[in-house]
């Protein structure tokens, strides 16, 4: 895909997601719009662009969808289906959510909105013989999570004891799926962060205090500038993670995403001030969504601690990417 085609596709996807989101809340309309645009074919043919474009659009529109399940299923070597949900790690962590002993699986984790209507649950499991297995959704105990982001569609899932049907995924597939998932969530945060910055920017230009738009006050300008620096750093880290697909570049991209969400959220909220503190203004939805997304597949603090331990244990600081 050349840059022109990529930009055109991004615009098309963004418009379609926004239109679907405006029509109905919940994931069905957005999932439908993405299916009409050929999401699964894009994921198959141009995975890198598909992930970046679709998840950025979801973030920008603050939309809920179930495409993360498709992407993770594919990475785990399973044909994606609309009735197959993927179990994610518990909040802030990234250990595989399942354990398999003697062909029986136990699991604890989170799942997206698809799990509410799915027939099967795909569960990555850790251990010496790491892999993934499916269980019937009926075997799982599923509770809808409202939390800080009630529209996000997250569910808390536990599986007490169920018969596991193993799929072909091995530990490398699990690592690859985690890195891809982190990139996807990172793009979603980047899209949402740009949307928050645009809301704050428009407000700063329009809001007059002391006889001038607050965009003319350096204290306001510098907050917005720092928000843009954080977003650009995240987009660069996402590019690096796509160019050099390793567990560590994926982890770093997700860690930068969490840091960016916090920086952009704080600066934009301060600039939006009282207006951003009401539910009349759309800002609060982006803020809440990015706070929730920041803990998916590893929080920044947990990833930073893990990477730091690794650097100290190996006494090696890898540069990871070259010109």
């Amino acid at each position: 895909m050349d840059p022109g085609e990529r930009a055109l596709l991004a615009e098309t996807v963004r418009d379609a997601v926004e239109a679907a989101q405006a029509k109905a809340s919940g994931p069905d309309a957005v999932d439908g719009a993405l299916a009409d645009l050929g999401w699964l074919e894009m994921l198959d043919a141009e995975p890198r662009d598909a992930i970046a474009i679709v998840f950025t659009a979801l973030g920008a529109a603050n939309a809920t969808a179930t495409v993360l399940d498709d992407m993770l299923a594919t990475a785990l070597g399973v044909e994606p289906r609309s009735d197959l949900a993927v179990l994610l790690p518990t909040f802030a962590g990234w250990d595989a959510p399942g354990r398999v002993v003697g062909g029986r699986v136990t699991a604890e984790g989170l799942a997206g909105p698809r799990v509410a209507h799915a027939a099967e649950l795909l569960i990555p499991f850790a251990g010496d013989d790491a892999g993934a297995a499916t269980v019937p959704v009926a075997a799982a105990d599923i509770t809808e999570v409202h939390g800080i982001d009630p529209d996000g569609g997250l569910h808390a899932v536990t599986v007490g004891d169920a018969e596991a049907v193993s799929v072909a995924a091995d530990s490398r597939a699990l690592e690859a799926a985690l890195a891809l998932g982190r990139r996807a969530v990172g793009h979603q945060i980047a899209g949402a962060a740009r949307a928050m910055l645009e809301l704050a920017r428009e407000h700063a230009l329009a809001r007059v205090q002391f006889g001038r738009p607050i965009s003319q006050f350096q204290a306001v300008r510098h907050r917005l500038a720092d928000a843009l620096v954080a977003i650009e750093a995240l987009e660069a880290a996402l590019t690096a993670a796509a160019d050099e697909e390793t567990p560590i570049t994926g982890a770093l991209a997700k860690a930068v995403a969490g840091r960016t969400a916090a920086t952009v959220g704080a600066h934009c909220q301060q600039v939006l001030a009282g207006v951003g503190f009401t539910t009349d203004h759309p800002f609060h939805r982006y803020l809440k969504r990015t706070i929730a997304l920041s803990g998916l597949l590893g929080s920044t603090d947990a990833i930073v601690l893990d990477l730091g331990r690794e650097l100290l244990a190996t006494k090696t600081v890898p540069t990871l990417i070259e010109l």
Binding site: R221, A225, A233, A236, L311, L312, V317, L323
Partner: protein, 382 residues
């Protein structure tokens, strides 16, 4: 020459010639020793050809992508063969001569900079001109005739923060040639020999004890008109043309150097969770910077015109450098503060120097102003 091929060939060569090219002083070394080492390394690398790749053939280069020379600078910084700050003057001043000097002058002098024969300095800042460069007042007037016909010009004024002025054979100097309030429209760039009568250099002691930069005084300094770089009153374009190199190659080299510093830190730091958090955070910032710098470097190599968006790179490099040395101070208690061994002395010099990373080359506040005005289009002035 492909970049991967260049990198592997260069690294093999540097491994093989380690004993010849490595610093001969005991660390941390004095500035005199650092300068001597840089020139020594440049001469060996020029002779072996590595220093010539990425530069045009008309100035003694071997051609190829400018990223080749970025790679060379990064390898030297990463291996501790040169200080990236001292080396960066090559990267910012040689392109200026190549783009704005006469072909004969560029062909004569650029090889002397590359091969370690000469050092050049950059006469931009003045006592009244820090981040606000276009307000400079060091004056140049035609000695005979007018601006179009003069064969020589007379320069009077003062520069400050001129790095390595006392070591330099030449200076790329910005002067005021228009009316005092002509801002960026009335500036002319000259290539001045530092042994010209009337030039006085007074080195300044920096916060870390080194005399790296200087005040430079110009009293009736006569410079031939053929040493004008670019057009009369066209000096702002010359100054701005430096930006892309400073913000791409030099940042990549500095980033590589900072990875090397973090490497030294993880070899010495305790294996605690506090240390892991601090080191992990510095690593995160370096990675974000390196990711960004890599994209900028590729954009430049692909022919893009770099502009205000490089202020983002500048903010990232300033903060990443400081957080690297903050990590050193936090995880090696007493080293920066009290350690009088050579190791402590080296960390202390670098720690103190890193405080300038949000000041030089346009303060972080000026970068944020540029981002707000140019990239976020918030209106108002820079």
């Amino acid at each position: 020459m492909q970049i991967a091929e260049f990198r592997s060939g260069l690294n093999a060569w540097l491994d093989e010639h380690h004993d010849e090219i490595a610093p001969r002083y005991a660390p941390p070394g004095t500035l005199d020793e650092h300068i001597e080492q840089m020139q020594h390394a440049k001469s060996l690398l020029f002779e072996a050809g590595w220093m010539r790749w990425g530069w045009p053939e008309r100035v003694g280069g071997l051609g190829g992508s400018p990223m080749l020379r970025t790679e060379l600078g990064a390898a030297m910084a990463g291996r501790g063969l040169t200080d990236p700050g001292l080396y960066s003057l090559v990267e910012v001043l040689a392109p200026t001569l190549i783009d704005y000097a006469s072909a004969d002058l560029a062909a004569e002098v650029v090889p002397r900079l590359l091969n370690g024969t000469e050092i050049w300095c950059q006469g931009f800042s003045e006592p009244g001109t820090g981040s606000d460069l276009s307000s400079l007042s060091c004056r140049a007037v035609p000695q005979d005739g007018d601006a179009a016909t003069a064969t020589s010009w007379v320069i009077n004024g003062q520069k400050v923060w001129t790095s390595l002025a006392q070591y330099s054979e030449r200076c790329v100097l910005l002067t005021r040639t228009g009316p005092p309030d002509s801002r960026h429209r009335g500036i002319t760039a000259f290539f001045v020999d530092m042994n010209t009568p009337g030039i006085t250099v007074a080195p300044l002691e920096m916060i870390n004890g080194a005399f790296e930069f200087a005040e430079v005084f110009f009293d009736d300094v006569v410079v031939p008109a053929d040493r004008i770089l670019g057009e009369v009153d066209g000096g702002w374009a010359v100054a701005m043309a430096i930006l892309p190199y400073e913000r791409s190659s030099c940042f990549w080299q500095r980033t590589t150097y900072l990875y090397h510093r973090l490497q030294l830190l993880v070899e010495a730091a305790p294996e605690t969770d506090v240390a892991a958090q601090v080191v992990g955070n510095a690593f995160l910032q370096l990675h974000a910077l390196r990711s960004r710098s890599r994209i900028t470097q590729h954009r430049l190599a692909d022919g893009a015109t770099l502009g205000a968006e490089t202020s983002i790179d500048k903010v990232l490099v300033g903060l990443a450098e400081q957080s690297t040395y903050d990590a050193v101070q936090r995880l090696l208690p007493g080293v920066v503060e009290l350690d009088d061994t050579p190791v402590g002395e080296a960390w202390r010099l670098e720690y103190l120097y890193s405080r300038a990373s949000t000041i030089y080359g346009g303060t972080i506040e000026v970068q944020r102003n540029i981002i707000a005005k140019r990239l976020l289009e918030l209106g108002g002035t820079d």
